[in-house]
Symmetry: none
Subunit: 198 residues, 4 copies
DNA sequence: CATGAATGAGCATTCATTCAT
DNA sequence: TATGAATGAATGCTCATTCAT
């Protein structure tokens, strides 16, 4: 008796495991997060874990994949924007607001510690490239519109925008006096705007 | 009976191991850097390794300690500076130029991945605090001198300066189009100056 | 309420699984043949597998049982034979011709590797005993008829006949230059006849 | 302080582990012999086990290698023989007398069960080939000397000699009424001689 | 001091088996 | 009756650390 609806349950369960893994990775780092800890967190047995993911590494990759997909979706949604600065601000505040999930900064550190694994490096590079492509489009448009400074290439500016967002997330992880909401304003209006505009 | 000459040799050997560990941590991450790999890199036996350091974690802590000491020394050397912006720029360019040692960005990622270990978190927090103390002093002076913007507290400005430097190092690790020398200029004159000054 | 037709289907399905298991055991050995592989080979789900057999071991035992049954049947069919040597040759060539199913030699190796499991050892011993009983009868008759050598007990001769057949099957598995059809002649006329006759 | 004599100890220890593994493999089969059981048998820790052998499979291969080396040595020692039949008998009785170590027949079954692993198959094939090369030389000489039957190629005869020896070892494992010493005589004088001579 | 063999706790992963649907 | 998701015990192997020489 085929149970076609099970695919729903499977997807949900997969997401449940991913969620638990995200928490555990954020709390303990990649190697500190034993599969046993992840399974505890998810309330499942090790067998179930490996039923859904062939390897511990693969859960991490699945999390990264999720981020990549969201980045892609967001880029598409931004396509009908008109003002370059607004588009960029929109992208940046979205990225940065993800740090509202307290696990994100910890997860970012977890990933950093594991960039020596080629598959991870590749996934991170893919995400990075997506963000670059997305941003560079709007930066270039801002430059041609005379809205942004023209002494720097769109590429260099993009690198710096990513420096700001990633540096921001790192701050959240490390600096307890760093208030996300409050500093996001500073990021958009002072750092980005001052850096990018004429 | 302690022979002072031996102390010299010991110190040199200790430093040699630290250097090898730094390389290995940068290349393989904390867990990827087995003590065996570190020993290979240092050209010593595991016995010798544990003669100089009680645990693998302690080598990492020793490396961090070295950084802390240098930060402290640098802070002291800066004490007779007169111009706040110059002092800050000096600090920042020193920090950032350390990334000239290719191992630093990799090591920074290694440390990020292991921040869940309390001793590491403490050491990093100590370094962070030192850098804060050092910077905040000059930022406050720049504000009172009317040289810097006064709409933000010295503390917030300092957080952002650290965001820039750490974000910069992260960029070096992740972004191959990011040229250290060239971007350092941008960091000092555009990012910092635009952010900090009136 | 049992429907006799179902029993047919069940039996067929059971045989189908046994056949798939035989193939898989021959190809991968007992431990290399995971239940998953067997199910794949049979085109069924693991649930179905365990519906027909309580454990993996039981499929193997079922295969052995099949062999035992056939041996028994063959022994009965041989009962009206008249010439001892012909009867023995008949038995041997039947046994050996089973190696025409390419899976048999592999399966024999599979079983050898698992003789440390008491239930397997018992089943193999039962088959062995059956073959012994069958052969010893004709060997004894050949001896009393003065047709066979009388310097050896019927039991020892029988052991050697089994040595020849099992050794033959092992050869097929191991020695690619060993041509079944051709060597069967040699087995019957040279090895067995030279060994057994006056 | 270099301890050059340790190589002796290492070799001894390696052999000790090999010996324990041989026992355990013979008693429990390859998969039934967990590394834990082997370590217990050897009186060592798992760490030590893997210090000497990278893989469980490798101990098995090491045992096979030992057999191969001995076959090679034996072949060399046989080189100055003069009588082909005597040389062949000498080889066969050596091979067969190894079954005096009660573990050998069990180990042979263990290996049979694991022939699906390519590395094992290769090692067994190498041993087989060595034995073939060794025997075929004397068989060919016996044929040209008119001492042996000439209706079969030397190769076929050799295959049959190996059938006899391997079948013999299998018998020892399976047939409790099969007395090694007594049957060896039968092997040499009746089976081999009757098969091989004119 | 230096060495590297020995240790054993810890971990990712496999797989036969169960059972709700 | 058939399914396949869920289970968890068992296993091979890694690696930081100890200690006799």
């Amino acid at each position: 008796m085929a149970r076609p609806i099970d695919t729903q349950r499977q997807k949900a369960r997969r997401m449940h495991i991913i969620d638990a893994a995200l928490t555990t990775f954020a709390q303990h780092g990649y190697h500190g997060a034993s599969t046993a800890k992840i399974c505890d967190q998810a309330g499942i047995s090790s067998g179930t874990f490996f039923h859904y993911f062939p390897t511990k590494l693969n859960v991490l990759l699945a999390i990264l994949k999720l981020g990549i997909d969201e980045t892609r979706k967001f880029g598409a949604a931004l396509e009908n924007a008109t003002d370059p600065l607004a588009a960029i601000n929109c992208f940046i505040s979205r990225t940065v607001s993800e740090a509202g999930d307290w696990r994100l900064p910890g997860f970012a550190q977890c990933v950093a510690g594991v960039m020596t694994i080629p598959e991870i490096a590749d996934a991170v590079a893919e995400d990075e490239q997506l963000q670059r492509d997305l941003l560079i489009h709007w930066v270039a448009r801002g430059i041609s519109a005379g809205q942004f400074r023209s002494d720097l290439t769109a590429e260099r500016i993009t690198s710096w925008l990513l420096l700001f967002t990633n540096g921001f997330i790192d701050r959240v992880a490390v600096d307890s006096s760093f208030n996300t909401d409050q500093e996001t304003q500073l990021l958009l209006h002072d750092t980005v705007q001052r850096f990018i505009c004429n």
